[in-house]
């Protein structure tokens, strides 16, 4: 188990080191998030129209989901240069460790993106997010893991596909939709600061989704890579 976790950590650290060194994905994804948040802000004018703030959770997760695809696209595409994916397949690291490492690296990158964009979102939409930061952080953690687990799996499937940039969102979004719906609802409730009887069901859905798709990804990745 220790070796498994060490191998997963090694793969995650390698991906993060490479990304933080050249920031090619983070810069693009952050710029994209800013543009989307800014455009929605202009379109809905949340400052003079307070009702729009009820939609803020949805707008935020639309930006995160689409920016997330940019990050996830690079996850296995990064391994195609110099055929490095073969090195990972031939290594003693099991496919489950590879999945976990990639998923962890993707989640960290997405969380960085989300946490940097959150203050900008607060300003554009006149939302007081600091009071509910604890709840938001937990939603971000679980929602990001859901997006990463599904996205990492499909990133492996589309890695060698010429149209992977188009394929990935088409494959990921329908599957990750229940988790995104939970994130949108929970973020809306957290920002409103109102208790809701529906919240528990959304939390459960998000946790179960994370568990199921983590197990599925860890189990199926080997078959995907060798097919």
């Amino acid at each position: 188990m220790n070796e498994f976790l060490r191998q997963a950590g090694t793969i995650a650290a390698k991906d993060l080191r490479a990304e933080f060194r050249n920031k090619e994905v983070l810069n693009a994804a952050f710029s994209f998030t800013l543009v989307v948040l800014l455009l929605f802000s202009f379109a809905f004018d949340p400052i003079s129209n307070p009702d729009v703030r009820e939609m803020a959770g949805g707008l935020l997760w639309i930006a995160y989901a689409f920016a997330g695809v940019l990050v996830l696209n690079r996850s296995f595409a990064r391994e195609t240069a110099n055929e490095c994916l073969d090195a990972l397949i031939a290594s003693p690291a099991p496919a489950a460790a590879l999945f976990l490492g990639k998923c962890l690296a993707n989640s960290v990158l997405l969380l960085v993106l989300e946490l940097i964009s959150l203050p900008v979102f607060g300003v554009f939409y006149d939302v007081r997010w600091t009071e509910s930061f604890g709840a938001l952080l937990l939603i971000f953690l679980l929602g990001t893991w859901a997006l990463s687990a599904v996205g990492t799996m499909f990133s492996a499937i589309t890695a060698n596909n010429r149209l992977r940039e188009l394929m990935l969102p088409v494959l990921v979004f329908p599957i990750v939709l229940p988790a995104l719906m939970a994130c949108v609802s929970l973020t809306g409730l957290a920002l409103a600061g109102e208790p809701s009887p529906n919240a528990e069901a959304w939390w459960r859905l998000l946790i179960v989704f994370d568990v199921i798709f983590t197990l599925l990804g860890a189990t199926l990745l080997e078959a995907v890579l060798l097919s």
Binding site: Q7, R17, A93
Partner: protein
């Protein structure tokens, strides 16, 4: 205990309806250097990839040494140089080796990394990014990566590619050293002169079939240009 380091039995590999490897069977003895030769499209790389565990045979059986309880140990037994070099351009030479040392669970990785960077002549480039290296330097880094964990079995696909004379000598001496330590090497190459100089055994594939299997000899070494006329 079987002397075979690699055992291949009635292997087939289809790409669609096309059989790239057809009913190939052979054993590679422990402690030998075996040249896997053949013209373009003979199926050498396809066969090597199956042995490396990078693709599954359509039919037949493959075994590396004695079957062990832990499949992860299979990966630790192998040192591979593939077509793509398997080097991360964004990482430095030392970081590349450190990544693989950690994946393979090497104890005292710093000493191993320094040793192998020195051995392949890249010690002074340890903090340079691999993306800035020439093709020859990258190939030398790939050699260091393949030897880093002291594997029992070396699978080398066109290892001489892009190497200059000194680097060819270096790889030859590393393979000779591995042979002296009873390690096994399967070398797939078009460069007959270098490969036949080192090999103890020869396998030849022709259009997916095993056309020749036997010990290497002085006749082959003396006239590599006429090797294919002799065996095919």
């Amino acid at each position: 205990m079987s002397a075979a380091a690699i055992s291949v039995r009635e292997i087939w590999k289809y790409f669609g309806d096309f059989p790239a490897v057809r009913d190939v069977s052979f054993e590679v003895e422990r402690g030998t250097i075996t040249a896997l030769l053949g013209r373009n499209g003979a199926g050498k790389t396809t066969l090597l990839r199956m042995i490396a565990g990078l693709s599954r045979p359509s039919r037949g059986e493959l075994q590396l040494g004695e079957p062990g309880p832990n499949p992860a140990n299979q990966g630790k037994r192998l040192g591979i140089i593939g077509h793509g070099q398997w080097i991360y351009d964004d990482l430095t030479a030392a970081e590349n080796l450190h990544f693989f040392a950690s994946l393979y669970g090497i104890t005292n990785p710093a000493a191993s990394i320094s040793h192998w960077l020195e051995a392949v002549g890249l010690a002074s480039f340890r903090h340079s990014r691999a993306g800035e290296f020439s093709r020859g330097m990258r190939q030398r880094l790939a050699i260091a990566r393949a030897f880093l964990h002291e594997p029992e079995i070396l699978l080398l696909d066109e290892p001489w590619t892009a190497l200059d004379d000194r680097a060819i000598d270096l790889l030859s001496s590393l393979l000779t050293g591995a042979h002296q330590k009873q390690r096994t090497a399967l070398v797939c190459s078009h460069q007959l002169t270098e490969t036949l100089q080192l090999a103890t055994h020869v396998l030849v594939l022709d259009r997916g079939r095993l056309a020749f299997a036997g010990e290497n000899n002085d006749q082959f070494r003396a006239s590599p240009q006429s090797f294919y006329q002799r065996v095919l």
